[in-house]
Symmetry: C2
Subunit: 409 residues, 2 copies
Amino acid sequence: MKPTPSDSEVSQSTSEILLPAGFRFAGATGGIKASGKPDVSLIVSDKPCVAAAVTTTNQVFAAPVTLCRERSPTAKCRAVITNSGNANACTGRQGDLDAIQMGSVVADRLECEAEDVFVMSTGVIGQPLPMAKVLVGIENAFGNLGDSAEHFIAANDAICTTDAYRKNVSIAFEAGGQSYRLAAMCKGAGMIAPNMATMLGVVVTDFPMSIEQAPQALRRITERSFNRVSVDGHMSTNDTVVLMTGGDEQSVVTDEVLDEFVAAASDACLELAKLLVADGEGAVRFFEVAVEGAMSDADALTIAQTVAASPLVKTAITGGDPNWGRIVSAAGYAGPKMDVANTSLTIEGVTVFENGQPVTIDAAKLSETMKSAVEVKLRLTVGTGSGASEYWSSDLTVDYVRFNSLYTT
Amino acid sequence: MKPTPSDSEVSQSTSEILLPAGFRFAGATGGIKASGKPDVSLIVSDKPCVAAAVTTTNQVFAAPVTLCRERSPTAKCRAVITNSGNANACTGRQGDLDAIQMGSVVADRLECEAEDVFVMSTGVIGQPLPMAKVLVGIENAFGNLGDSAEHFIAANDAICTTDAYRKNVSIAFEAGGQSYRLAAMCKGAGMIAPNMATMLGVVVTDFPMSIEQAPQALRRITERSFNRVSVDGHMSTNDTVVLMTGGDEQSVVTDEVLDEFVAAASDACLELAKLLVADGEGAVRFFEVAVEGAMSDADALTIAQTVAASPLVKTAITGGDPNWGRIVSAAGYAGPKMDVANTSLTIEGVTVFENGQPVTIDAAKLSETMKSAVEVKLRLTVGTGSGASEYWSSDLTVDYVRFNSLYTT
């Protein structure tokens, strides 16, 4: 049984999905996955819209990532086409041609330009994309398009790979005194790491903005959501998030109204990001590292990220082990300045280290508390500065190792 | 069964240990470890000698680390006293006083100054050092001192914690046309990480050098040995390596002769370092990442280290899985510039990726080769630069996770 974040407002019930108008969705099966599960996902904007993409910062990046970079931002976006089951990464010149063809076939059907379509792929690295199957999947997807919650979910399911469950979120929000909607989906369970978009994701909204505002807003949203989580610290070659908006070439909003959108969208995407770590390969629980008292927010984030990445911290979370020395020592090698005499740590609200001194605790009781939590909360004060940040990670389990020792062979 | 590096010249046979003259060794039991195993180790130089220490760069560092820093370098070193079973880290003011007392008691017995003694501790973090037991152990150690191979091994055994086997190396070497000896021991199996001394180690040699030359030589040696290995990337609070030499206040050697010493000592310590990763907690095999074609040696080292640290690479090694996409993609997020069109990878000599293109391989056969290796060799070319470096790491197994999920509770 996989946990889901207890405080998540995400529901798998289709009746609660709040879709913005103007978008259609489809999932389809082309036969790329040996399992026969859906492997082609299509999202169409009824009219040309302002859209942007953020992509992996990995120097080894997949062919579709090149296209997303070239085509972002745009005021004429019509679609995002995604295949799962094959990453089209490390596939050389043929991979580039295949990615271009995926987009062109969709553009032909929509009677738009090739550059109006974003392309994403996810799956195994280094194998040629089976284009005949991809093309069948695209054809089937066009037959399945629709604007209901069921269509949205079908598109969501078709981007999944090792995910134990689908991940989506939708909200209604106000900005500039008007009501809007936002729906987002993502996939990912392994090769999830900080410093970029961390997986495949699509965010659709009827909120308008300009072509200049879209990439900046998306960057701010991902910094505050997907870039705050890690399963295994291994940055993928394919990670991409696409934002499709209600804007067109004439759209523009004030900075204040854009801030309202970014705040609402960031909260929604953080919910999605927590679903990613909760679904970390093999994970039995996940944990939050909240750091305060650092010299800057950036320092606090680096410390939180380092603590969250330590295999010794992750295995302590797995075991429900209040082994706080591992947590404090991980902060100590993170890099940013730490004031040990003013360093304190709480685990699930229990102070275990205070101003550089160990605190006598009931370790067995605290262990029970940790074991019964879906999300273990660590709060680390590293000095008297005003810098603070949070980071989320899944634990490291026997099943993670089993799963990843047996992946391709 | 733990593997040992197949190419290691290290022997557990006492007859082959080549000890330099002028040093005595002892292991003793003070009762710090619940297991009743030896937990106090003493190494004495018969006369005051030139010595130096390198210590952890973790900002959270143990009380004895403070003493080693204050007392290094010295031309009057008489002893290194070490306890295992308790790290004396995160123990506040009392921890500082306990570390000072450990050294002072030894200095009193040797009729030297407190600052002539180095102090090291290893074990659990955050618990007060049981001083009564430590003092009993020190008393017993003085009764056990001797200059034979058996005494050296007893001192080695008494620094161990979760080690599956003792780790030592000894060599005879020539420098400046003269013959010398060097013997070194270390401990460590978890919380092993790059960027500093990575564990407890003592190197003793009859090779002379000045107080200015000793810390510089030790830094160069550790950069080329202990800082090239990682088990879990978690830098400890206690890591320390002490070098005791045959030098006194009058000693000095030329730069050329010192280079001969550094080369011989680095090779010997790299053998020891490989024993550390072979004994990584839960490890079934270890692996070498050799990177070439980078813009600089430092860039190559960063890439090698990043590949070696990836949980996905480590689990692929565990499973004997030639999943080369994980290796190439880890290099891609390491940071230093990579030229993908000139990137190639071999696994155990088999080319799997060449100049940015996948190569068709017999994956089942390569998997068998990997599974039968104790040390899997990965060779990654990342461009046409002249930078090259190597790094060693243990794999990541179900047993590592099991062991570290159950450590204190």
